[in-house]
Subunit: 364 residues, 2 copies
């Protein structure tokens, strides 16, 4: 499936939750399917921490299929014969939207001069993009994990902009354990001397070792204990017996090393710092007077929440917490906990029940 | 409580599971309480990954009370008025027993020339120590976490040496997730340029940044999600509002940084590599023809297993798996899952029910 790679310069400076504005913001985005003449069929798809706008087309760096190719396309659950799908790289990221690797006013990369952003800032940039594209009201906003946070933030802060909100495997706030894993990753990056306080762009190398460790930590949280056992157990990697050394004897070690090193070829370490920080700061209730139901007081949207029973990163209890708040605010909400063995990553993987839920909610 | 710090040179080379022998092994150990004239009251206490022989006396480096001061002492659950408690630093560690920081035959530190050891090798060294001390048969062998693995290994491989086996918050093998977390820690250490392939001793600095990250990862696994939430939640550290920066805004971040950096002042990074490797290699069934019950075919000991409902590192299912094997082998075993909110660390913390179980099993 082909798609246009497009970049758009926002016409106005972007106000930020931390104060101040971000000037000359560029948003890289992809669209799939035609926008209807009346503009009624647009879906904003929000990507997760390490995702990007390449939802359903080949990734320009890795050459691999887009991260939700199984879900988005002609005749697929998010049917591009019917819907106009927009997916924008979040600000702070590194696939074309303005982030720490972008040039600041002085021409040098922002690096750590980039402002700390929030999930709401990311969504504010999405809204500015939709404005520029002439999409006044979305048929739906959809996202999993950090994408789900953006969907919820859009519903809470721009309630008139979306008719449906589909949030998968997500949470209304980061727990202490969520923060702990992200802090671990940030410390791994910052401990790498190649990080150099974030000023590594001129050296043409990035703190790959630290970023790989951060990614390894994250990957452990994306899979359930049962999934790791089912996938790897204590199986050895390409050998008959333990080496009594420090090679990757076990398949799970080899897998993690591969995930870690592969990630460093497509992702910027400073972006990892900024995006994890935005997620840790996310607390939808706190933004709305400490009461989560308040966040949805103005919404007229229909909501659908999906959790997975094996997800220990954003467990079902987090989705239930959201459902209770939506109930309290009087919003129509459907909720399903799906059974899938893969852990948090289930939202990206082959879970036919998810396909049915997504299709049913968007078409219905 | 005072105690003699003692080191003993083993008279014979120590055979290793990986092949070969370790020559001139020194074991650092502590004892508490008097050995009975008939030698019948000795308890071998086995320490965990980051523990050492300073069970119930001030730690010489940190100046803090021993790691199980609450459990071991006169009138305490492991009553030193009654029992002679022996605790030895495991080989591979760094508190006086032979490990990677020790001098090899050429006078230079072993560093990564130290052989990869196993849990059974650690226990083999304990047995050699007991031989040297003239302790033929233990009243009991006791340990939590990696200490529990040692207790089980002793029961399986030297079945005549202990009358009782108390294994707390432990497992018969490392799961894929257990291995994953350890591999993450090892990669963090090895990614630190100060590690220098393990040859950092002459530089007088160790790969502290990498070791701190490894320790942070481990600490996340030692506490339950609920314990982290109860202890820290999303509370901010010494500030009224988020800083919109990368300081430790959240208490959980500050806690992890503190745990990480504190650890580097008392623990050797290479020891961390070797000991985590030994734990990852641990698979008691594999050592005994693939059937866990076989491991206990020769035992005449009584067993007591304890797990904690909030421990997700070595969850109750692992203890149950052991209980089933012990039942199959005909060994007398009592098992209790205790309710405690602290996660894996519960075995070190104030859990009065654990005190009663320990005292009851050792005294009964």
């Amino acid at each position: 499936m082909s798609a246009d790679v497009t970049r758009l310069a926002l016409p106005d400076p972007l106000p930020l939750d931390g104060g101040g504005v971000l000037d000359q913001v560029v948003i890289a985005y992809q669209t799939y399917g035609e926008l209807a003449a009346d503009g009624s069929n647009a879906i904003l798809l929000c990507h997760a921490l390490s995702g990007d706008q390449h939802v359903a087309s080949l990734h320009p760096v890795t050459g691999r299929p887009g991260w939700w190719s199984r879900m988005v396309g002609p005749g697929k659950p998010i049917d591009t014969d019917r819907f106009h799908v927009v997916c924008a790289n979040v600000i702070g990221s590194c696939m074309g939207s303005t982030g720490p690797a972008s040039a600041a006013e002085d021409g040098a990369p922002f690096a750590m001069r980039f402002p700390v952003i929030t999930i709401r800032d990311m969504v504010r940039a999405h809204i500015a993009l939709l404005d520029a594209l002439g999409i006044e009201r979305l048929h739906a906003v959809v996202g999993g994990s950090m994408g789900g946070m953006q969907a919820l933030s859009l519903a809470a802060n721009w309630p008139e902009r979306a008719g449906r909100v589909l949030a998968i495997a997500t949470s209304s706030r980061h727990s202490a354990q969520n923060i702990a894993f992200h802090e671990l990753g940030r410390q791994a990056i910052m401990a790498d001397p190649a990080w150099s306080g974030g000023d590594y762009y001129s050296a043409q190398i990035q703190p790959a070792a630290g970023l790989a460790v951060a990614r390894m930590a994250a990957h452990i949280t994306y899979l359930s204990e049962a999934a790791l056992t089912g996938k790897f157990g204590r199986n050895l990697q390409d050998r008959e017996a333990k080496s009594f050394g420090f090679d990757a004897d076990f398949q799970v070690e080899s897998y993690l090393r591969h995930q870690g090193s592969g990630f460093t070829r497509r992702f910027d370490a400073n972006s990892y710092l900024y995006i994890t920080r935005a997620m840790d700061y996310f607390d939808l209730a706190e933004e709305h007077g400490g009461l989560l139901a308040n966040a949805f007081a103005q919404t007229g949207a229909r909501f659908c929440l999906v959790s997975f029973d094996s997800d220990w990163l954003y467990p079902t209890a987090e989705s239930r917490h959201l459902v209770h708040a939506l109930n309290a605010s009087g919003a129509p909400v459907s909720f399903v906990e799906l059974s899938a063995p893969h852990g948090h990553d289930s939202f990206l993987l082959d879970v036919p029940a998810l396909d049915r839920v997504v299709k049913g909610f968007l078409d219905g």
